[in-house]
């Protein structure tokens, strides 16, 4: 023992491969004893070049590409993309299409939050809750399959409207499913709120103050869990959200319990939205025609993904292909906040605190160079990338 003055700091890398992480990210922790002193996050192990690829495809082909940015929030990506293209072209989708979009978006929110609740339980070592929640998540997955024909990539939204209608029979099934799901959700809310071992692990863990959360540009449930009422659906209503009454769920404490409770409340809220939308769906067509070529224009499109605000920027140049599509996914916005949340807590809390932002890392990889010493940053053009590729493979096959 060399005395208190000397800090015994050691580094623990979590990732890119680690059982707590479902996708690759490197979190480099500086640990002092058992307490996290500092953390550095390095995402972008899965750079897929989707933004670049959109420039080589036309607006219809890009729907399929954007649908695959994220496996869980595939619906909101398609919606925000098609919504942006509609704004570029200056067309308005028919009212019934807007309601259909809202219904499957809210179904997606439920299945995403249920998935997250299961993962959070697993990170706490509570595997029983994990299996139960995922079993009931299947209920929603089946409904999605019933309505859209798919479990993951629904392909419901297209430029100019929706691709499939929701029949009365399907609407009835959805309502019945929501009734069952609400009852199951009551059980899980009780478990999370009352179970002593769960409470011991989530109350006052990973705290974030509302001031800090806003300062670090946190979005979605992570922000709302600190008590800040901010939701794109309410603040900047898109689709049919301005016609549907709903509450923005917030929880004041800012710890992991708050994150869980906000998501649980959002699941209830989503079930209510679905019921309301099914009851008030206007009759009529579900799709309008949109021209192939879109005049030069610049728009942004936003939506509230299950993980927070999803942001798309579009620039068109008069052809059938976009000039630029920029995607900002919510996980990227939440990374600074989660690094702040982790500081000062135990090693044992790394998984649950990191999982509490519902990280979805494969959408997060971007490509830019930053030279910290010379304070420079730059990007490569496609030609420079290709040149690098040639050099790299030449070096590999030398």
């Amino acid at each position: 023992m060399s005395g208190e003055s000397e800090k015994a700091v050691f580094e623990v890398p979590v990732g890119p491969q680690h059982p707590a992480l479902k996708e690759p990210i490197l979190l480099l922790f500086k640990i002092e004893g058992d307490i996290i002193d500092d953390v550095m996050a390095r995402p972008a192990y899965t750079h897929r070049g989707i933004e670049k690829a959109t420039e080589a495809r036309n607006y219809i082909q890009n729907i399929y590409l954007c649908e695959r940015v994220c496996g869980i929030c595939s619906g909101i990506h398609t919606l925000v993309y098609t919504q942006g293209v509609e704004r570029l072209a200056g067309v308005e989708p028919p009212p019934r299409a807007k309601y259909i979009r809202v219904i499957f978006l809210e179904l997606e929110r439920i299945h995403s939050h249920a998935l997250w609740l299961g993962v959070a339980a697993h990170e706490l070592g509570f595997d029983t809750l994990f299996y139960y929640v995922w079993r009931d998540r299947e209920l929603v997955m089946d409904l999605l399959e019933l309505v859209t024909g798919n479990r993951v990539n629904y392909a419901m939204s297209t430029v100019g409207g929706a691709r499939r209608d929701i029949s009365d029979e399907a609407a009835h099934q959805i309502k019945k499913g929501m009734e069952i799901f609400r009852r199951r959700l009551d059980v899980y809310t009780g478990v999370v709120e009352k179970d002593p071992t769960v409470r011991k692990r989530v109350v006052d863990v990973g705290k974030l103050s509302p001031h800090k959360a806003v300062e670090l540009c946190a979005v979605g449930p992570t922000l709302r869990a600190t008590g800040v009422k901010r939701d794109v659906r309410a603040d900047d209503p898109y689709q049919a959200y301005d016609e549907i009454p709903f509450n923005v769920a917030t929880y004041p404490t800012g710890d992991v319990l708050a994150q869980i409770m906000v998501r649980v409340m959002e699941m209830y809220e989503a079930a209510n939205i679905i019921d309301y939308a099914l009851d008030h769906m206007p009759k009529g067509p579900i799709r309008t025609k949109v021209p192939w070529n879109i005049a030069p224009n610049e728009v942004i499109s936003r939506g509230e993904a299950p993980r927070g605000e999803l942001f798309y920027y579009f620039k068109s140049n008069g052809t059938e292909k976009p000039e630029r599509v920029k995607i900002r996914t919510p996980t990227l916005a939440n990374l600074p906040a989660v690094c702040e949340m982790l500081k000062g807590y135990h090693i044992a809390e790394i998984p649950i605190v990191f999982a509490s932002i519902d990280p979805c890392l494969s959408c997060t990889g971007r490509f830019a160079f930053i030279d910290e010493r010379h304070d420079r940053s730059w990007v490569w053009t496609g030609e420079q990338l290709r040149a690098y590729r040639r050099r790299y493979y030449k070096w590999q096959n030398r």
């Binding site: 707590a20 595997d127 692990r201 809390e349 790394i350």
Partner: protein, 332 residues
């Protein structure tokens, strides 16, 4: 001559090494299957009837896998710990009455074997620490330190409640305690709180939820086990199964009378021993599995806090309670 031959059979076959190995794999199967059922899963399914042979298949598979020894590990500890842990778990089981054949008590029974078994239980925990420490891996080191902390938490309450049973029965011979508990209903009921405490302590000893802190998968990969693979991992897993067997058999013996129980008519006494033992231990393993399905994992400081604040006090209170009953002459 006949007696000696029977002794050899008792050592090697029944209830010796062969039967104990079968028992360990059987308990792993019960544990996994019941745990899975509680979680709406199937659990082991394909190997053997209802997946009964799955633990054995897993063991053989692991034996055949590549056994990697990282360059930086302490080779001596890395090789010694799995073997010693397996040997110790087997060793302790010979002092616990399972199905007494020749002497009507456990194979190695002597006055004071309870102390020896408690010592072995501590040694097993300590070996886990050494195994993790010798791995020189960051996750292993964290896991090893957590094992040591956990040992500090559960060991003393466990020793107190196990010795309480001895106090109640007036002997430190596990087999004699079991006989006394089986024949004395008042003692058996007075020991029920001790049974509950020992089950919680064994859950911690076996590193199972909510006390699976030293090998918390989501936090530190596999904790002290991280670097082990192939044969060494197979031995560790088998040793853990034997530890589960030891926990179930010891709890059954000290608090529920082990293999001794009311004679079942029309069958030989050894068969009734077997049936009673299997019944009691299977129920205990199912209770252990049920606890595993009920909770989330605690943090290490919460676990030690819980042990010293609640478990130890409960254990000491139980010991005082038994002493008072003894002094009052309630327990004959």
């Amino acid at each position: 001559m006949m007696r000696e031959a029977l002794g050899v059979v008792e050592l090697l076959v029944f209830p010796g090494f062969l039967f104990l190995s079968w028992l360990a794999l059987y308990f792993e199967w019960v544990d996994r299957k019941f745990y899975a059922k509680l979680q709406y899963r199937y659990g082991p399914l394909y190997t053997g009837p209802k997946g009964f042979l799955q633990p054995f298949a897993d063991f053989v598979k692991l034996l055949a896998k590549e056994d990697i020894v990282p360059a930086a590990v302490d080779r001596f500890l890395f090789t010694l710990t799995p073997i010693l842990m397996l040997a110790l778990a087997f060793y302790a089981l010979f002092y616990v009455p399972i199905v007494p054949m020749v002497r009507n008590v456990a194979f190695g029974a002597f006055e004071g074997d309870l102390i020896l078994v408690i010592f072995v239980l501590t040694m097993v925990g300590f070996l886990k620490f050494l195994a993790g420490w010798g791995s020189t891996n960051r996750f292993s080191a964290v896991g090893a330190v957590r094992t040591a902390f956990q040992l500090l938490g559960y060991e003393i309450p466990l020793a107190v409640v196990l010795l309480t049973a001895g106090m109640g029965a007036g002997t430190l011979n596990i087999s004699l305690i079991a006989q006394k508990v089986a024949s004395n209903g008042i003692l058996a009921s007075a020991l029920l709180p001790a049974l509950a405490i020992s089950i919680v302590c064994f859950q911690a000893e076996l590193e199972r939820i909510p006390f699976d802190i030293p090998e918390a998968e989501q936090e530190i990969v596999a904790g002290w086990l991280t670097e082990f693979s192939g044969r060494r991992l197979a031995l560790f897993r088998f040793a853990t199964d034997l530890e589960l067997t030891l926990a179930a058999a010891l709890t059954a013996a000290l608090f529920l009378g082990g293999p001794y129980g009311p004679a079942i008519p029309l069958i030989p006494v050894q068969v009734s021993y077997f049936l009673w033992f299997m019944f009691k231990t299977t129920v205990i393993v199912m209770v252990l599995a049920n606890i595993r399905a009920l909770f989330a994992r605690l943090r290490i400081d919460q676990m030690v806090h819980f042990s010293w604040r609640h478990l130890l006090i409960a254990a000491v209170a139980e010991a005082i309670f038994i002493q008072v009953l003894l002094a009052a002459g309630v327990i004959a």
